[in-house]
């Protein structure tokens, strides 16, 4: 753990020095330096710590029923984790609902393990310090088991098809005091907010690159953030009210983006600034 931190710190410091030495006006060079910074971050990803903790949590008997999540069916059968994330969201007949991974995990925690919904939702996001999230760890583990697997979200089921269509509506929905929609920032190629490159999520390449690199360890936050968090925080910045974790709008958007990423090899947990 210390070694990962050290390598991370050394890599960041090295790039910062390089950026300083090569400091020249003009946005091209700035963007290049940021790309180098990101490359250095790939060297050691603390998300591995979340994955290890998540695997232990997945396998440990928990909740009032004292059973492990290995009873949980993520779509490929109870306990099957390998490749499960790459085919989500999907329709689950037992819940009569289209679910993404995180909603499904909440479902399994309450139905299989017998937790109260409020208990399952107690710490969905870590606080960047001492209060870590079990959910973020479990998601890190499950998603890591899809590394290299091609995204394959099927629209055969009418419920999923409808969610996809709803997700597309959500993507273009303008609201709030700023008139922002997802499309405001993610509807064109080659755009930046400040120096941050913005993926164009209306293209296949853009959706693939973005969706396959979440969850991610956020260096600035010291936590592994999941796709539910990504949507929650986008809407915060859109000046919307708070997106409910596991809500239909969140699942609809996830369905829209995950399906658009079909065909690309999943490559997360990743690491981001």
């Amino acid at each position: 753990m210390n070694q990962i931190r050290w390598r991370l710190a050394a890599g960041v410091a090295g790039v910062a020095l390089a950026a300083f030495a090569a400091h020249a006006p003009g946005q091209g060079s700035t963007v290049d330096e940021i790309a180098k910074y990101r490359a250095a971050l790939q060297d050691g990803n603390p998300a591995e710590l979340w994955e290890a903790r998540g695997e232990e949590l997945w396998k440990r008997p928990r909740g009032p029923k004292n059973v492990s999540l290995e009873r949980c069916d993520l779509g490929l059968g109870p306990g099957v984790v390998k490749g499960a994330y790459a085919q989500l969201p999907r329709f689950f007949a037992d819940a009569n609902r289209v679910m993404d991974l995180e909603t499904r995990l909440l479902y399994c925690m309450t139905t299989e393990q017998g937790m109260a919904d409020a208990d399952a939702r107690k710490q969905l996001f870590g606080n960047g310090n001492d209060r870590k999230s079990d959910m973020e760890a479990i998601v890190a583990y499950v998603t890591s088991e899809s590394k290299g697997v091609k995204m394959n979200v099927a629209l055969d089921d009418p419920h999923v098809r409808e969610m996809y269509a709803l997700g597309e509506r959500m993507f273009y929905f303008r609201g709030g005091p700023h008139d922002f929609a997802c499309a405001t920032c993610h509807g064109e190629d080659g755009k930046r907010i400040r120096l941050q490159d913005l993926p164009n999520l209306t293209t296949k390449e853009g959706a693939q690159k973005a969706y396959t690199t979440w969850p991610a360890y956020r260096v600035s936050q010291g936590e592994v953030r999941t796709f539910q968090w990504r949507l929650y925080d986008c809407f915060r910045q859109q000046r919307f009210p708070e997106l409910v974790y596991g809500s239909d709008a969140s699942i609809a958007l996830t369905t829209f983006l995950a399906r658009n990423a079909n065909g690309a090899a999943f490559d997360a947990p990743a690491i981001k600034r």
Binding site: L166, P177, H178, A183, R194, L195, R239, P241
Partner: protein, 206 residues
């Protein structure tokens, strides 16, 4: 019945989205509206009424990033132009130094923001302005030399004030917030941002 609702919807959205290929559009729209209210909860200053769209937001959403027909664009621009309130004292230009601070400030109106705290315009998130600031976004056009390029005239000042107040008056379904119309910035703040753009002494025009 599906046909008639479809026709109503098309009357609103004109030919942007084909009705024949997606006969359930009206149903999806109705479901989307339901889903929306159930999927968000109020937090801090962000109440659920932020999901209630005005005509401009609704129409722009329906076109889903596609080009607007000319008549629809003209209607939106006219409706938004009518909302612009120029200051009663006729003073459109404030202090560019304060305008620069407002342009840098990204906080305001998020549920995580202190409702009594700073509210900025975050111009640099999307625009290049003063050349000293290298960390600028590209969602909007560069505004470097805004005043110098357009001329330091009454016309330029009035356009800048109106554009910041309500961008949709000049470009329907603009990505830019309607800072005055939506009550994001005060009149004094808009004047200061205008100064950053049009004051010959502003770094934007150096």
């Amino acid at each position: 019945m599906r046909m008639s609702t479809c026709m109503t919807w098309v009357a609103v959205a004109a030919a942007a989205v084909g009705c024949a290929t997606t006969p359930s559009d009206s149903e999806v729209n109705a479901k989307a509206a339901q889903m929306l209210k159930a999927s968000f909860k109020e937090a801090g200053q962000a109440k659920l009424d932020r999901l209630d769209q005005d005509d401009t937001q609704r129409t722009c959403s329906l076109y889903a990033g596609k080009a607007l027909p000319k008549d629809v664009a003209a209607r939106i621009e006219a409706a938004n132009l009518a909302t612009i309130q120029y200051p009663a004292d006729g003073k459109l230009v404030g202090d560019w130094k304060n305008g620069e601070k407002i342009a840098q400030e990204g906080r305001g109106k998020q549920f995580s923001d202190d409702p009594q705290g700073a509210v900025g315009a975050n111009c640099y998130a999307c625009h290049q302005l003063a050349p000293q600031e290298l960390s600028f976004g590209t969602i909007g056009p560069s505004l470097y030399r805004f005043g110098r390029t357009r001329g330091f005239t009454d016309e330029t000042r009035k356009y800048a004030y109106g554009k910041v107040y309500n961008a949709d008056a000049f470009a329907a379904c603009s990505n830019m917030p309607r800072f005055g119309h939506s009550g994001i910035l005060t009149d004094a703040q808009i004047r200061d941002v205008v100064a950053l753009l049009v004051d010959p002494d502003s770094p934007v025009n150096k």
